[in-house]
Amino acid sequence: MAATVLRWIETLLLGAIGVFMLALPNSEIYWRFLNPKYSWLTLIAGALVTFLALCNAFDRRWPKISELLGLMAFLFLAGAAAALPNPYYDAGPSSSATFGSAEADLPHMTESRLTLDGEEYVKINLAELLIKEKNNALQAGDRYAFQGSVTRTPELDGAGFVAVSRLLIACCFADAVGVSYFVRVNNPGEFETGQWVRASGVLVPDNLDMNKTAISMQGAISTLTSKSFVLDSVQASIAPSDIPFIFVVRDSEPYAY
């Protein structure tokens, strides 16, 4: 009797996990955990786990308590991850301050570029920009537009900069690496850490005498910043982003942005 009860509990727990893994790729929150390119893998695994759960009801094996506890722990963690406010997409400030040109026109956007005051800016994400720098493909005067969340420190405030950062995720949230760029602004005090910003500007040589490793991001093992350049901003606006993480990195236009 006890074995039958335990087996049914195990079946239900395993079935719940299978259904969760089936539903997650079809939901709007898959990207919070894994790179979306692996959604097919999670879907297949979820189908298999659900199938195994159904078959488990007919197995005469005596379930182990430690196995049941493990399944419960996972379901609890998954529920907590979905329910608790996450600093990257649930708790950010929502003001709409801008910096740079106070009365700039809305930018004209094509797929890979945007135009401000007659100048073209290449839309790129922070990881792609840092890789171009690593490959010596950047020079002062290049015009780029990128987006990310604002990070402020007293040092940066004093120098008239904010850091714009994002998380680069290759496979899952657990392997996230921070990527960051310093952006010169008129008044850092207009921004709050965590605001989502879209910045456009010109690359200038980095003459900041500052410890860039002080920039850290929650959930990131390390954070990379530019060694050679900062962005002298022209215009930008703060707006909410659908997905704050970088999952795609391209080596030519149109960049993933």
Binding site: M21, V49, N56, L71, F74, L77, C171, D175, V177
Partner: protein, 320 residues
């Protein structure tokens, strides 16, 4: 509360990422258990010891498996009479010596071959050493559960212990001869459930380190090459990142010598918080301890030699 959210998300992500590979490993192990005979396995192996070890080291190129699913496969191979000099090197090397991980490492290091080559070297050497030492020892010496053939016969089924689909007794192919498919399903489920508790435990601990480790702790290790190597190796064990993704993380460690990044990438797939409890659950204590200590010491030593002799450029490699 935000830290809790990061912690829960990290742990869940690790488990979701590893689960398909653990399923695959459990399924492969079950198929080997039910469908593959000992004679068939031995037929495909070379006769000489060196040839067998080589097969074990490079079998991952044909049968790539993440470290999350490799332990069940290795256990089934041993129970089927595969010499330990094949099964153990396969278990240690396959998570790295496979096309997927080689490709991801090349991509993470922007096409540079040195990180890939040294990573493979640092993995192959301890795996080869373990294969050489273990030779063709009987699996009863290595595995915690004794196979039925080595136990006293005192039951109708010919073995003394309670019949359990995850018991590894090897008897299932006879008991369920008429319904091997059902046997594969039950074996897969049992193995998956058995290993998943270690995966979940390891993921929880790894997510805890990742979330609550002070952000500046890495800076403590950059001042000295040897500290950098030991520090990153310890971090690899604590973070338990999947072998397909750890190259991207290693590449991001600005200021660390390449020998330290290579050490990070070599030790992680062989020893981490998910694997250690699996080792102690499946293997005898001495072998489990050796599976932790031998790669750690070997990789640490080799990485330090690489660093001291400056065989690698101390500043090349990676995103930065």
């Amino acid at each position: 509360m935000q830290d809790l959210a990061i912690f829960a998300t990290s742990a869940t992500a690790i488990i979701l990422e590893a689960a398909p590979f653990l399923l695959l490993g459990s399924l492969l192990g079950a198929i080997i258990e039910v469908y593959v005979s000992e004679a068939a396995l031995l037929r495909v192996l070379p006769n000489r010891a060196l040839g067998q070890i080589t097969v074990g080291l490079f079998a991952g190129m044909l049968l790539p498996t993440c470290e999350c699913g490799i332990v069940p496969v290795a256990r089934k191979l041993l129970l089927k009479g595969t010499p330990p000099r094949v099964a153990i090197p396969y278990m240690m090397a396959a998570p790295v010596v496979n096309p997927v991980v080689i490709g991801s490492t090349i991509f993470a290091f922007q096409g540079e071959i040195a990180p890939v080559a040294f990573r493979l070297l640092l993995v192959v050497v301890p795996a080869f050493a373990m294969g050489l030492v273990l030779g063709d020892l009987n699996s009863s010496v290595l595995l915690r559960r004794t196979p039925a053939a080595l136990q006293p016969l005192n039951s109708a089924h010919g073995h003394a212990h309670t019949h359990d689909h995850a018991c590894g007794c090897g008897c299932c192919s006879q008991v369920h001869e008429a319904n091997k498919l059902k046997s594969v399903i039950f074996h897969t489920t049992a193995e998956f459930l058995s290993m998943s508790r270690f995966l979940i435990l390891g993921a929880i601990v790894a997510a805890g380190f990742k979330t609550y480790l002070p952000s500046g702790v890495l800076e403590l290790f950059t001042s000295n090459g040897f500290l950098a190597i030991a520090g990153l190796m310890l971090l690899a064990v604590l973070l338990s990142i999947c072998s397909e993704a750890d190259a991207f993380v290693a590449a991001s460690f600005a200021g660390f010598p390449l020998a330290a990044k290579v050490g990070f990438m070599a030790i992680g797939p062989m020893v981490d918080l998910k694997l250690i409890p699996m080792f102690y659950s499946v293997f005898h204590r001495r072998l489990a301890t050796a599976l932790v200590v031998v790669p750690t010491v070997t990789i640490l030593f080799m990485a330090m030699v690489l660093h001291m002799t400056n065989w690698v450029d101390r500043t090349m490699g990676g995103l930065w």
